[in-house]
Amino acid sequence: MRKGIIALFIVIFLTIYHKKIKLREETFTMQLLQVIEKHGRTPEDLLNILLEYQDTVKTNYLSEQDIKLVATELNIPENKVYSTISFYSLFSTTPRGKYIIQVCSDVPCYVNNSVNIVNELEAMLNIKMGQTTSDGLFTLEFTSCIGCCDIAPAIRIGKELYGNMNKENLQKIISEYRRKK
């Protein structure tokens, strides 16, 4: 008897969960179709579509399903969409944090102690470069030069650039993002 009730609960839970996932997938699909509609369906619109759509995804990545949909809509092979995505470093095919923190890894920042910034961030977020925090809020990445050499060491969070980084202002910025969520 008790087993039966538990089984029933599991079935109900799975049905709701499945529906929720499906609903989520459908909203993603709708969103992607809207972006495609806005930019057009010629192959030259591919980059703009992918860039704009990825921005709307909370987990900052493009899924296999997205790739398939874009390929069908633009009438280009799936592998071409995938190869374009893997070519450009602003795209990801694995889920990332809501805020992507990129630390410049090039010489002008390096000679202004960007190594310390990496260490500070890793300690503050308790993750290593390339990882995402368990709450899904931050991903740590390296980036090539972001044109902030006059305010080195520099980082980029989402679309914002921050320069003259040190332990104090890093802490301030990170806690602001944590508050925003």
Partner: protein, 429 residues
Amino acid sequence: MNSNNNILIKTVITKNIGKINPNSIDDYINAGGYKALQKAVKMTGVQIVDQVKASNLKGRGGAGFPTGIKMEAVLNTDVTPKYLVCNADEGEPGNFKDKLLLENDPHQMLEGIIIAAVALNIQKGYIYIRGEYNKAIEIINLAIEQATKKGFVGKNICSTNFSLDLEVRSGAGAYICGEEFALIESIEGKSGRPRNKPPFPTVSGVNSKPTLINNVETFSVLPFIINEGGKVYAEIGTATSSGTKLISLSGNVKNPGVYEVPFGVTVGQVIEQLGGGVPNNLKIKMVQLGGASGPIIPPSMLDIKLDYKEMADLGISMGSGAIIVIDERFEMFDIIKKIMNFFRHESCGKCTPCREGNRQILKLISKIDNGTATIKDLKLLETLCSVMVSTSFCGLGQAAPTAVITTLKYFTEEYANKIKDYSLQSKSV
């Protein structure tokens, strides 16, 4: 400010920086903006190109090809449609001068673009801005909107028969897209991989049609040339390099930033007089010119003049004008590893010399750095560098080993100290 700043020029392309609101077209117009365009629409294409030729302006993106000759090539073709591309994919480490122009004086660049389009009768233009420059993308989009409302972009520019449709394209994080053909591929929505040259973009660029492609700084000079005349511009600088250059000064200097200087000033002058020298009384260990793909020179060479010819005679180039100062606290091999790691990551993978060469150079440099390399490895490194220079498909691979080649030449001792059998073998080799 003081006499120290006498090598600084603030009257050519940085004249509006900090003085006008970049989001206000009226500010730009009140500062004399779009006068050059009004003048240009009354000139013939040949007259405009002649002024640019008279100015001796060379492409400011790094290659230094004469802009007037490029424009002439697109002017003289009968093939239509023709395209215009503004290369704002500034990604060379150590360069941030285009960002300054894009974010602080967007209309100057736009005016230059429109003048070029009018001269060459081009109706479609793209401004390709790197994806990381979000603020610049916003500002340029707004500037195009404002210019369209004023009748400078769109149909019937300044009530003439000229029309120009301008579109901003965002990059997506690939250094290679600064290479002109990779950029064009990217505009067409593909992975940014270079094409074979020739034909050059002036013959076969966007959609395989004639395309004028220039750097942000190059376009930004055009309003000055049309307003003042090419000759006036040519009088600034040296006989072999006319005009001014934006220098992105960074690294271990007191006052990093973008400075507009006339050609002919020395690298040392820029570092000392504008940059204020190295902080904490430290000594300069080395200076990299142009960016990651540029030469590394020792302090003894700092009296070298910024001049296309003088630098070419020494086998080096200033690229797009970066000066990166590195002080004595840093190990040369750590810097080279950073640079080679950058190229290993940014190589597009199309050709083997670049794809594999960068990896192997990085390996060899690490081996030398940890003291396990022999003279044989050093010879291999030299061969690898020269193979990459002569056989890489595009400028990325050809320029990638520059830091290694120049340090081998100017910092031989650093290598010798790390290689055990160096002095024994080098005599016999």
